[in-house]
C-alpha cells in the first residue's frame, strides 16, 4: 500500500476531498489547524477569526492505482493554489 501526505490551505480542502472521493480511495483522514511555511510564505492561525483559515494535512492510505488517478486531479490544484504532496510506502499492521 501507499501513503499520500497532502498539505494545503483549508480553503481548497473541499475540492481536494472531492478529488480523493472521485478517485475511489478507500478513505482519508484530515487534520486542520496546521500552520507552516512554503514557497508562498508563512501561514499562521492568527487570521482564524476570518474565514481565511490555516492549512490542512490530509493522509490517504491507498493502492498504487488510486494514486495515479489522484495525481491528475490534485496536481493542478497544488500548482495553482500552492501546497505539497508526497508519497511513501506503508504496510498494514
Amino acid at each position: 500500500m501507499k501513503r499520500l501526505d497532502l498539505i494545503l490551505s483549508e480553503r481548497e480542502l473541499q475540492k481536494v476531498l472531492q478529488v480523493i472521493d472521485a478517485a475511489g480511495a478507500p478513505g482519508y483522514s484530515v487534520m486542520r489547524h496546521v500552520t507552516g511555511k512554503g514557497p508562498h510564505g508563512a501561514v499562521s492561525e492568527s487570521m482564524d477569526f476570518s474565514s481565511l483559515g490555516a492549512n490542512a494535512h490530509v493522509i490517504v492510505f491507498c493502492e498504487q492505482e488510486t494514486l495515479v488517478k489522484l495525481r491528475d486531479g490534485i496536481q493542478p490544484l497544488l500548482r495553482y493554489y500552492g501546497g505539497v504532496a508526497f508519497v511513501s510506502e506503508a504496510t498494514p499492521l
Partner: protein
C-alpha cells in the same frame, strides 16, 4: 476640544486593549488568544450588532433617509474599488491591484463597532439602519474586484470551478460574516416586530457584554495587526501611504455625501467610517480563493496592519472633528 476627542478615543478600553496587544508583540511577550477564541468574539460581535441593528430598524422603519443612505453606501462600495484600482495599477500588477481595491471598497465591522462605542462615549445618537448599510457594503466590492480581474486580466487564466460566477456570488453574499450579520439583522427585525419579550431577554447578552467582548477582541486584533508589521516592509512606503491616505479621501467623500443626505452627526460619522474602512475578513478570504495570483500579505497587511489601526486610533476622532465642522448638530 480637538485633543480631547482624540484623547477620549485613545483612552477608551477597546483602543487601550488594542495597544496592549500591539505592545505584547513588540516586547516579545508570549501572550496569545488561542484559536478559536477570537472567532468566538468575532461571531458574537456580528450577531450582537446585527440583532441590535435589526431591532432599531424595526422601530425606525424604512422611511426617510433609510433607503437613500443605503443606496449611497452601496454605490460607494462599487465606486471606491474602481478608483482605487486605477491608482494602484500604476504601481502593482493587475491581480494585486484588484485585490487591494476590493479590500478598500468593502468595510470593517470592527471599525464600525468601535465608532459606535466612540459615539456612545461622546453621547451622540445614531440609527439602526446604519447596520443595514454596513451589511450591504461587504459584497459588492468583492464582485467588482473579480470583475476587474476578468475584464482586464489574461484570457488564458484557468477558469476552473472555483472561478465560476456561482462560487464568486456565494463567496460575496454567503460568506460567514455577511451571512451572520444579515441573518441577525433580519432576526432582530422579526423579533422586535412580533415578539418584543424576545428582545428583552436577548438584551443582557447582546448589550451588556458588548463593550467587554469588543475590548477582548481588540486585544487579539492588536496582536494580529502587530504581527503583520513585518510584512509592511515588503509592501513598501507607497502602499503604506495608500493605506493611510485612501481612507482619509474616502472619509472626505463620505462626509460630503452624508451632508447631502441630511444625516445626523452620529450617522454621518458611521457613514464616513464605512467609506474609510477596509475589509480584512470577508474580502481577503474571497480574494484568496478567487484571485490566488494576488499576494495575501499585501492586501491583508495594508488593511489590517495600517488602515485598521489608523482608523480606530486617530481616524475616528479626526472624522468626528470633520463631522462637527460640516454636519449641523441634531
Amino acid at each position: 476640544m480637538e485633543t480631547s476627542l482624540v484623547l477620549q478615543n485613545l483612552l477608551s478600553p477597546p483602543v487601550l486593549f488594542f495597544f496592549l496587544g500591539v505592545l505584547a508583540v513588540l516586547l516579545g511577550s508570549d501572550l496569545e488568544i488561542p484559536s478559536p477564541l477570537p472567532k468566538l468574539f468575532s461571531l458574537y460581535l456580528l450577531l450582537a450588532i446585527g440583532f441590535k441593528g435589526g431591532v432599531e430598524l424595526a422601530h425606525s422603519g424604512l422611511g426617510g433617509q433609510v433607503l437613500p443612505t443605503i443606496l449611497a453606501a452601496v454605490a460607494m462600495s462599487l465606486v471606491v474599488p474602481l478608483y482605487s484600482f486605477l491608482l494602484l495599477r500604476t504601481r502593482l500588477d493587475l491581480f494585486n491591484a484588484a485585490a487591494i481595491a476590493a479590500t478598500y471598497g468593502s468595510i470593517s465591522a470592527v471599525t464600525f463597532i468601535t465608532a459606535q462605542s466612540f459615539l456612545g462615549v461622546v453621547g451622540l445618537p445614531f440609527d439602526g439602519f446604519m447596520v443595514a448599510a454596513l451589511a450591504l457594503m461587504e459584497s459588492p466590492a468583492i464582485i467588482i474586484g473579480l470583475l476587474l480581474v476578468k475584464l482586464a486580466g489574461p484570457q488564458k487564466r484557468p477558469d476552473s470551478g472555483a472561478m465560476g460566477w456561482g462560487s464568486v456570488l456565494r463567496e460575496a453574499f454567503l460568506n460567514s460574516s455577511v451571512f451572520l450579520l444579515v441573518g441577525s439583522l433580519v432576526i432582530g427585525v422579526l423579533v422586535a416586530s412580533f415578539s418584543p419579550q424576545g428582545v428583552e431577554k436577548m438584551l443582557p447578552f447582546t448589550d451588556k457584554l458588548f463593550y467587554g467582548a469588543l475590548s477582548f477582541f481588540l486585544l487579539d486584533m492588536g496582536i494580529v495587526a502587530a504581527q503583520r508589521l513585518g510584512d509592511l516592509r515588503r509592501a513598501g512606503p507607497l502602499l503604506i501611504a495608500f493605506a493611510v491616505l485612501m481612507p482619509v479621501l474616502n472619509a472626505l467623500i463620505g462626509v460630503t455625501i452624508a451632508r447631502g443626505l441630511g444625516l445626523n452627526q452620529g450617522d454621518a460619522l458611521l457613514f464616513m467610517v464605512l467609506c474609510a474602512s477596509a475589509s480584512y475578513i470577508a474580502v481577503p478570504a474571497a480574494m484568496r480563493m478567487t484571485v490566488p495570483e494576488a499576494n495575501p500579505s499585501l492586501y491583508i497587511s495594508t488593511s489590517l496592519g495600517v488602515t485598521f489601526p489608523f482608523n480606530i486610533i486617530v481616524g475616528i476622532p479626526i472624522y468626528m472633528l470633520l463631522v462637527k465642522q460640516l454636519i449641523p448638530a441634531g
